[in-house]
Amino acid sequence: MPQNEYIERWTKQHGRRLDHEERKRKRIAREGHKASKNAQKLHGLRAKLYAKKRHAEKIQMKKTIRQHEQRNVKTDGPSEPSSNPLPAYLLDRTQPNTAKALSSQIKQKRAEKAAKFSVPLPKVRGIAEEEMFKVVKTGKKTAKKGWKRVVTKPTFVGADFTRRPVKYERFIRPMGLRYKKANVTHPELGVTVQLPILAVKKNPQSPMYTQLGVLTKGTIIEVNVSELGMVTAGGKVVWGRWAQITNNCENDGCVNAVLLV
């Protein structure tokens, strides 16, 4: 009865077949041909999958090659200032470098100034009312009314909200499309945390959507950042912080936002 490491034992006792090493070498040598054949022959989904896999492999290969190459390449500027002093007429040569650094610094400053009033997503696609609302047609009486609307986008509804009586309810926000939490990224720390939404501050599409709490791409929301433990300049713990939604929530089934800092 074969038990435990019987395969290794067998090889130990009887050895491998005589052309084992050669076969192995040949198989490796053949791999390129096989890959090429596959790339030419495969169809449809398999071709897609294969191409994707190959693409990733190639990227990886190129990266490693570059790494190896860089080891041998000499960079133009010496990393340390040379010990022997340069003549005056040659000192100018380094100036373009500094000038470039200066200009970029200025540019950055300007950008920062503007950044006070800017948000990560300054422009959004307009959403028509027909897309946002669906007219409710069900039921005998409702069909006649024609003023009842269902919001077809995800919404945020406060915890203390109660629906109005059916007769007076103009906008219905379906339970299935209500969100309470958002995945918020801190842009500087580069971490993403799931935080509860406190309120919808501004929907760029229309003030009405802000009122309704519609969550579309570019909407500014307030999130509860108490978990992050952020502190103000005065030393108080920050509770609510604004964030901008960066994805189309209705397509993704989740709310992704970036914290405005």
Partner: protein, 652 residues
Amino acid sequence: MQLTWKTIAPVPTSQEFLDIVLSRTQRRLPTQIRAGFKISRIRAFYLRKVKFTEQTFSEKLGAILESFPRLADIHPFHSALMNTLYDADHFRIALGQLSTAKHLIEQIARDYVRLIKYAQSLFQCKQLKRAALGRMATITKRLKGSLEYLEQVRQHLGRLPSIDPNTRTLLICGYPNVGKSSFLKSVTRADVDVQPYAFTTKSLYVGHFDYKYLRFQAIDTPGILDHPLEEMNTIEMQSITAIAHLRSVVLYFVDLSEQCGYTIEAQVQLFHSIKPLFANKIVFLVVNKIDAMRPEDLDPARQELLGTITKSGEVEMLKLSCHTEEGVMDVRNQACERLLASRVEQKLKNVMSSAAGKEVTDILNRIHVSRPIGEGLQPFIPDAVLNRKRYDKEDPQRRKLERDIEAEEGGAGVYNVNLKKNYLLENPDWKMDKIPEIYDGKNVYDFIDPDIEQKLAELEAEEEQLQESGFYDEPEDIEDEEEAEIRTKADYIREQQALIRNAARSRKSTKNRAVIPRSAGQGKKLSDMETHLDKLGLDSSNIVARARSISRGRAAARAAKDTDAMDLDEGSGAKNKMTPIERAKSRARSINRREDGIADESNRTKAEKLAKLQQKRMNRMARQGESDRHVSASLPKHLFSGKRGMGKTHRR
């Protein structure tokens, strides 16, 4: 209980897993969808995709979870072995991660199914499906480590020997390189590696052999070094697990020649340190390699040291040499003998102590087997039988058997057995006499019974006596007039009752409806009238003819009479063809509208003329007449349009 786990299906890597599941979704479900389809259809299409993927995921994960053994459910030995080999915590965590992933995937599917129900367009549906599948894929990718680990465990599990913890077991243990594997190899047919260096055996090996027609298993364990349990590595822990959990005979091997590289002191010390594991087990001290060094040849100090093991009297010392095969079978047999004895004893004890054992003792207590006092019953053997000479083939004066006679007289088929010669009769001369069937005009078989005449006489006498005493006399007829009268009256009453009953029944069946008596409708027959009139001397021919013409005869007869035309050759089917009258029975009779309501020919021409005249103007102007084909509107506008002032749509 499961002893081997060779049938666990391979566990795919996370990437393979993903490929399997996603391509299954792609292959098994429809792929054609258009934005122009009804939104409910688009939603259903994508819902199905998400649900199906989730089902596949959970099915596959569930299968993996199911296939691996649950450590709590298997025998403690196997569970401990798996713990030492694969680390029970790691194992549990890996399986736990799989089950969590399954749960999460199910949750995601639920969420996205809900969201797709609200989706407004094909694009949105598709994006949601994509997000759902993507999240499932992410979860699967995170399982990379656990899946790899489980695959390794599966491969190793499949190669474990099947050790039955409950069967008869010899367990071989000791220091490394003392000759454990070579003993197993010499006792069983197990293919074990034997090498002259320590730790050749790195895991448990099993071999089987038969002793007294019973199957025994011998387990070879890796060598143990003498250090605390915490410091033992996986290889040594396997032996410890086997010693601790298997009910067996333990053969503790020592090498007195010290060829193994360990001193006798160390080996004895090891025995004492693992002694607690030997509790409730039969232990033998087996001295191996006696070809190199016998225990008798040891110096006294070491002999005494060896004596510390056997001193308690529970441990017996055995000697063998695997090299010269000296004493190998003795050791095996002795160990097996002791094991069998102890197992039988154990079993008996178990039965007696268990609930079933109580029943057994109860029944035993109630059974009493009594025996006669003294010599008891003696068989009676007649002297003739006792003194009869034993039949002996060789003896020339032996008894003659029937088969001897047969052989003498010509063998089987020729010789006819004489059945009469053994008859027991008064006179032996009568044996061969023939018995006639009829003798003196009487059937001999009637007189086989010697007392038959006497018996017959007795019977006859008895019969006569019975007749005389009047046993067979019939009782006298004692009916008188009074009784006859009662009888007739009773008959009359019964008849009347039957009549009443019938009347009541018929009344009930009519349910109080007026019944027209049959005779009322029928009246007199025509023939009756005819004969009556003839009798009176009146001419009845006119009346009869008229009556005949009015009354309807049978259809066939009338048809036969009426037809003057030639017979048509229609075969047998002709009869079944419906004649106009017969057709009239099955459907309403069609009326010739031209003649309907018009008395005679002249009237009809008159009416036709009038109709033509009426139509004349219409025709001249090519106007629509009443005879023109007309299809009325399916939705008359005046009925279906405009405000409804009063009433409903259907009542206007």
